[in-house]
């Protein structure tokens, strides 16, 4: 940002209140080293406002809590679902009635890849 230093006219009244432009990276990303963007394929999470083609902001630094939307690894595949953990039972819940919950048992190769913090949805316009 350019700060006026030579008084050649009436100084801008906004001069003393100068701020940088809003930086979406800083506004939306709290752990830059641990944050990844993921493109959504499929419609299993439309009830959570996550649609095919959306961009997800995934923060790997966060610990997954019950109710978070997460990227999980299930038997080698990455999937986005809502993380449910109740009395020792882990479920990955879709948000579309056409899909069944994924039950995680001891035979499932399972890991949480990261916690989804935002979904960026394109609304048209260009």
């Amino acid at each position: 940002m350019f700060i006026v230093t030579v008084p050649a006219g009436f100084p801008s009244p906004a001069e003393d209140y100068a701020e940088g432009p809003l930086d979406l990276n800083r506004y939306l990303i709290h752990h830059p080293a641990a944050t990844f963007f993921v493109r959504v394929k499929g419609d299993s999470m439309i009830g959570a406002g996550i649609f095919c083609g959306d961009l997800l902001i995934v923060d790997r630094a966060l610990m997954p809590n019950h109710g978070n939307v997460v990227i999980a690894v299930v038997n080698g595949d990455l999937t986005v679902k809502r993380f449910h953990q109740e009395s020792g039972q882990i479920l990955l819940m879709p948000e579309n009635p056409d899909y069944a919950p994924i039950v995680i048992d001891c035979n499932t190769d399972f890991a949480i890849w990261g916690v989804v913090t935002r979904a960026i949805h394109f609304l048209g316009g260009s």
Partner: protein, 206 residues
Amino acid sequence: MIALTDANNFYVSCERVFNPRLEGKPVVVLSNNDACVVARSNEVKALGVKMGTPLFQIRSLIQQHQVQVLSSNYALYGDLSRRVMEVLGQFTPAVEVYSIDEAFLGLAGQSYEIVAHHLRLMVKQWTGIPVSVGVATTKTLAKIANHQAKRMGGSVCWPIQGRCWPNCRWRRYGALGGGSLNDWKPRASPLLYSCNRLTWLWFGSC
């Protein structure tokens, strides 16, 4: 104390972050134009494939063991390297980036066993990259400690607190042996190949 953190099979680990199906499978990453092997998963190392082997020499091995063969993606490796270094920077301001997957860290006045442990966990969680950590009093010794950490799959700190330092030092160098020297310091090996324990000691003081 000086810690050397080194990513395990870095290019392969980068590929596995975004393709978890490669986990536990033999994977190689090739050089530009798919000419030679530049990264090997542990499964491939166990098959005896050496660094830099031309692809055509291992065609049958690849078929036989269903080895996953990938072209290199340096943009991806560079990005993950930057992330790993950023995480390391949270532990100490003294980070000296040594290569795309290695960095020396100064750990003054810190409990380095605990730091090494946390560092591995945090880099793995934040970036998905597994690293080995070797801690010692000099950079050269940290490199050797890291080499040992790689074989054990974790972190190694020298000297182990509460033990007699000179005696341990003799034994540790003896345990490395002359042959394994080739693995981690090829350019020094003509000088040291016929090494006895005295040369190791000299080398350790570098």
